[in-house]
């Protein structure tokens, strides 16, 4: 069965420190992987997708099919990065299929 695992419930770092939010998945085919973010009192929104290979707000994520991972990284955390982060997988052949989410990691960036 398809599954997304985010091993850390809470990640706390100081401003300026590097951040890595871990995501592992299980899927036998070719998945599409996403990171969604939810800031306080805001709705869930897409942060980045693996096929775009883009950097959003300084965050990057590389799909490692060998390790079935899609970790989210940022070299220097900012206080405004504090939020709930969800890793998600799409399995319906990429045609706007449903998303399978991990349980989320709460990132807290301290001043």
């Amino acid at each position: 069965a398809q599954r997304v695992t985010q091993p850390e419930k809470l990640l706390s770092v100081f401003k300026g420190a590097p951040v890595e939010l871990k995501c592992n998945y299980s899927y036998s085919g070719s998945p599409e992987l996403f990171w969604y973010v939810q800031y306080s009192r805001q709705r869930l929104q897409l942060l980045l997708r693996h096929i775009s290979r883009e950097s959003i707000k300084g965050f990057t994520a590389d799909l490692n099919k060998g390790e079935t991972s899609f970790h989210l990284k940022k070299p220097f955390a900012q206080e405004e990065d504090s939020a709930m982060y969800y890793c998600a997988l799409s399995w319906y052949g990429g045609s706007q299929g449903n998303l399978i989410f991990g349980k989320g990691t709460k990132l807290s960036v301290k001043p």
């Binding site: 709705r43 997708r49 319906y92 706007q96 449903n98 998303l99 989410f101 349980k103 989320g104």
Partner: protein, 114 residues
Amino acid sequence: DAGVTQSPTHLIKTRGQQVTLRCSPKSGHDTVSWYQQALGQGPQFIFQYYEEEERQRGNFPDRFSGHQFPNYSSELNVNALLLGDSALYLCASSFLLAATYEQYFGPGTRLTVT
């Protein structure tokens, strides 16, 4: 464009009752997906509607049903409510044939079953 809107914001129901939640998609979107998010969990896919038909369904019982209208808005109905149905219900809209994949989420409806 207000984006995806959902109503009501909060709802309190009694066990055994029925509830209807509503969703209006983002302008230009034709597909609506519903998710259930229990406390401390990630969203869990319920079902997806396109062209007024259920296109995909997650692992939810038949008590959960939906509908999509010609204007692409959608309803989620839950019958015979259980305490375990208490959750945040999220609606997400998208354009099925979009070149890039993105689902836009609404603010959610908080359902409490007592």
